[in-house]
């Protein structure tokens, strides 16, 4: 989606050199003698799956974590970064994946808080914010309250917060995961501009096409150590994916697209005013999910996904019971338990703390939603059947765990997600609703989860997937739509739409039929499908 950036110049002076960085956490070696160097004006990618040690490494650079061993050289001097304040003084800025902004304050106030004494006069600062944001192509009104900003705009606040200071190294942690494809392009323009001016950028990601489009060099981490370094422009996505996951793991594949049969889930005119002052109101949502198809809902987090999912799961009861229909009748007023009885299975976004109880065994977690499948007799738990149910899930979905008595919290994210999805699928649902099914899951587990979903679809279940990962949605969905500010876009079969169109839907531009013909180009679609096939996560 972007043209590769200007060629890399290896003779650039080094801004940051890290050698032999090691950090041990209880039970896990997060960083194992990592070497990495970043030049002046270089955009350097740090690639790796979740748990590869990316976050630890950047926290060490930002002074949040102290390494057990290793040397850090900053602009030629050996230093020890004491804390984030020290890092900021050196000119290191960081944009976290989860923003740390006060929603009830304005943009200027938020930035002033971060600057501390340097903030000085608020009017001067506001003017400075205006200039800086205009200069780097990031429109931002300093007087607006943060709660009224979109996620993309909030990210701009975080970036501008770094830029109003003398910035020499900008660290971005998965910055694109919260953006629409169009916003990603804008961000990349800004980052290239910054780099041209000599600022070094450490770009942390697991999205290979973005790394290819933006970065000069890449360092790949796997299980805490450097598994490879490369020039992204000279690699293809699959060779970088191999460096990330190793040789053993299968990389995901393309699946057939199908047409569904009868309608199972029917949503008609679903509106709901959010009780949370910062929540999103659902606006007249209409959607059908047929048996035997996967419908994907794209969208940037915080656009009504939580509210829609809560209305569908039954955690929120809606006044207009007719808005949600199963074949057996309206279900909008039924409790989660009753909806499960009518064929619903549900995989929530937070796997630990909602999908599974952290301090309970897998066996008890199997019972958590599996209690309707004959595991309860006269109010008493049938421990034997529960245990064999848990063991069946573990076996069928290849959950790596010592036994069914292991606590959910000691499983890795991918393994736990396999268990949760397995638990839902093993109940033979007629409708499965899954939020972010592979978020933070390693590639091997993600592939297994995708295959399980496709298999469930082929067995005739209706499936609704809500995800922020556009590539994943294109890969497994049969039909696609997007949610923006609580409203649902038009829905189209996945092969007849494009990433660009879905991106516009995510930004709230639903009226795209006009330019549809120009965009609908068979070639670009099939190219997309190929790119998707090697897509990781």
């Amino acid at each position: 989606m972007n043209t590769p950036t200007a060629s890399f110049q290896p003779d650039r002076p080094k801004r940051l050199i890290m050698q032999g960085i090691t950090k041990q956490y209880p039970g896990c070696l997060a960083n194992d003698s990592i070497d990495i160097d970043i030049g002046v004006g270089e955009i350097h990618a740090l690639l790796g799956e979740n748990g590869a040690g990316k976050s630890t490494l950047m926290k060490i650079i930002y002074g949040l974590v102290k390494p057990d061993a290793g040397e850090i050289t900053w602009e030629g001097d050996k230093i020890r970064i004491k804390d984030p304040a020290h890092a900021r003084k050196l000119g290191i800025g960081m944009v976290f994946q989860h923003f740390s902004l006060f929603e009830t304050l304005t943009v200027t106030e938020n930035i002033a808080l971060a600057l501390g004494d340097e903030a000085k006069d608020m009017k001067v600062l506001a003017e400075k914010i205006r200039t800086v944001s205009a200069r780097y192509g990031m429109a931002l009104n300093p007087d607006r309250y943060v709660h009224s900003l979109s996620v993309g705009e909030r990210q701009r606040v975080e970036i501008v917060r770094c830029l109003v200071q003398d910035i020499r190294l900008l660290i971005l942690d998965e910055p694109t995961s919260v953006l629409t494809p169009q916003e990603v392009d804008t961000l990349f323009v800004t980052l290239r501009r910054l780099a041209e001016e000599g600022c070094s950028i450490l770009f942390i990601s697991h999205k290979l096409n973005e790394v290819k489009a933006l970065c000069h060099r890449a360092t790949v981490l796997r299980a805490g150590h450097v598994s490879g370094a490369c020039l992204p422009t000279e690699e293809d996505a699959s060779s970088m994916a191999r460096m990330m996951v190793g040789d053993e793991t299968p990389i995901s594949m393309a699946y057939d697209k199908v047409q569904g049969q009868d309608i199972f889930l029917q949503i008609r005119g679903l509106s709901r005013i959010s009780e949370d002052p910062f929540g999103v109101d659902l606006k007249n949502i209409n959607l059908d999910v047929h048996a035997g198809e996967i419908v994907g809902i794209a969208g940037v987090a915080g656009n009504g996904q939580e509210e829609l999912l809560a209305a569908l799961s039954g955690e929120d009861i809606i006044k207009n019971h007719d808005a949600i229909h199963f074949p057996c009748g309206p279900v909008g007023n039924l409790s989660p338990e009753k909806r499960r009885g009518k064929g619903l299975a549900f995989v929530p976004e937070e796997r630990l703390g909602r999908g599974a109880v952290p301090d309970m065994s897998l066996k008890d977690n199997a019972l958590l939603t599996g209690f309707l499948t004959g595991l309860i007799k006269n109010g008493m738990i049938d421990h034997e059947s529960t245990d064999s149910f848990a063991k069946k899930i573990i076996k069928k979905f290849k959950v790596k765990t010592p036994n069914s008595g292991t606590h959910a919290k000691s499983l890795s994210g991918g393994n736990l997600q396999k268990f949760i999805i397995g638990r839902e699928i093993m109940q033979n649902p007629r409708l499965l609703i899954a939020a972010h099914p592979t978020w933070g899951v390693d590639i091997g587990a993600a592939t297994a989860i995708h295959q399980a979903l496709i298999e469930l679809r082929d067995n005739g279940a209706a499936i609704l997937i809500v995800s922020e990962d556009i590539d994943e949605l294109f890969q497994i969905s049969d039909r696609l739509c997007a949610l923006c500010d609580g409203a649902l876009s038009p829905i189209k079969p996945a092969p007849s739409t494009t990433v660009e169109e879905v991106g516009r839907w995510m930004a709230g531009i639903f009226d795209t039929d006009v330019c549809d013909d120009e965009l609908f180009d068979k070639k670009s679609v099939s190219a997309q499908a190929t790119a998707t096939a090697v897509q990781t996560h």
Partner: protein, 365 residues
């Protein structure tokens, strides 16, 4: 140079069981030092407190008498605490149970039929349960913090009790003492061992232990209560009715505390008096945690707590210590338990072993 606390990768199960024992030992040691500073032989003083009271059959029987109300309150608290509902009001629920049981019992003094006792006990259960449900209602409807409401209800219950023995329930032939009339024989709990005061209340308590054990370990309601306590949003997602579970847990907890109160007035006391509980309901909180909210653990912890009550009395008689000694030992026990519980999630790193362990672990990798 200093000891450092390092987080453990996983909570230590061993430590979870060792912690109460360690707390007990530390309480004994501190208690010993305390006695020594007061000019007593520490070993003799501890023996006087913790062994002498139960050195004969009568003492063992008294231990059961004291254990019954503590155990009933604590086993009920196990349920609510598992649901993360912090009912601090077992004391008030016990008093209300005693009050309602007495209110019924003094009106059926003449009745000799067998139904008198069960009805008195049920009245006590109802009194305690209703008192707890009041707090449950405030919590589920107004989101009122149950810690605050149950504590306040304790004082209301105490004052209602005092009002009753000075007013409506005062024995008309009692020379104006603040006491109710003596209950009829049919309303009194039978004595289990002759020449002692040990009554059927301890059987109720043991039965409650078994029932609650089954409820927590085997029943689906118990499972739902545990899920609610560990992870409320998982419970909501699974469709467990959280308000209903809070009501059920409070109902059981309050009912058992009420039964404890009824057992006191219909057992060793035989009438309603202003002091039916020396803080059994509060001690039960310590007992519930000391017993790790597990029925068997709570059984042993209750016996220990009952012993501390008896030891406190013995220390008054033999060592001329003030009654505060009981509270002191209870407080130390809770204090040390909370301190030792830190070791479940953390381990102590000694200054001389610190660097080595890190490097050796790195080498292993």
């Amino acid at each position: 140079m200093f000891l450092k606390l390092v987080p453990r990768a996983e909570h230590s199960r061993k430590m979870a069981y060792l912690s109460p024992l360690l707390a007990g030992v530390l309480t004994l040691v501190t208690g010993g030092i305390f006695f020594y500073l007061q000019g007593h032989d520490p070993l003799f003083a501890l023996k006087t407190m913790l062994y002498t009271p139960i050195s004969d059959t009568y003492g063992l029987a008294e231990l059961c008498v004291k254990t019954a109300p503590i155990l009933l309150c604590a086993i009920g608290l196990a349920i609510v605490f598992k649901a993360q509902v912090w009912n601090i009001g077992a004391e008030g629920q016990l008093l209300m149970g005693g009050l309602t049981a007495s209110a019924l019992a003094v009106n059926i003094i003449e009745v000799e039929a067998a139904w008198a006792l069960p009805v008195v006990m049920l009245a006590g259960i109802a009194g305690g349960a209703l008192w707890a449900l009041l707090a449950a209602w405030l919590k589920t409807h107004f989101n009122a913090n149950e810690i605050l409401t149950t504590i306040m209800f304790n004082y209301i219950a105490l004052n209602l009790l005092i009002f009753s023995v000075h007013g409506p329930l005062k024995d008309p032939d009692g020379y104006n003492f603040p006491e109710s009339a003596l209950f009829g024989d049919a309303s009194l709990l039978p004595i289990l061992v002759e020449d002692t005061r040990v009554h059927a209340g301890i059987l109720f308590a043991l039965l409650a232990v078994v029932i609650i054990w089954v409820l927590l370990a085997r029943s689906f309601i118990g499972f739902q209560i545990k899920v609610l306590g560990l992870d409320a949003s998982a419970a909501r997602l699974a469709g467990f009715k959280d308000k209903k579970l809070v009501w059920i847990a409070m109902l059981i907890s309050g009912g058992l505390a009420g039964l404890a109160g009824a057992g006191e007035v219909a057992g060793p006391l035989g009438q309603l008096v202003p002091q039916i509980s020396p803080g059994y309901g509060y001690a039960a909180i310590i007992v519930a945690f000391l017993g790790r909210l597990h029925p068997v653990g709570i059984l042993f912890a209750s016996l220990l707590m009952a012993l501390i009550y008896m030891g406190g009395e013995m220390a008054q008689i033999e060592l001329n210590m003030p009654l505060a000694i009981t509270g002191l030992f209870q407080g130390m026990l809770l204090f040390y338990l909370l301190a030792c519980d830190v070791l479940i999630g953390y381990k102590i790193k000694f200054p001389w072993s610190g660097v080595k362990t890190v490097t050796s672990r790195v080498e292993q990798q």
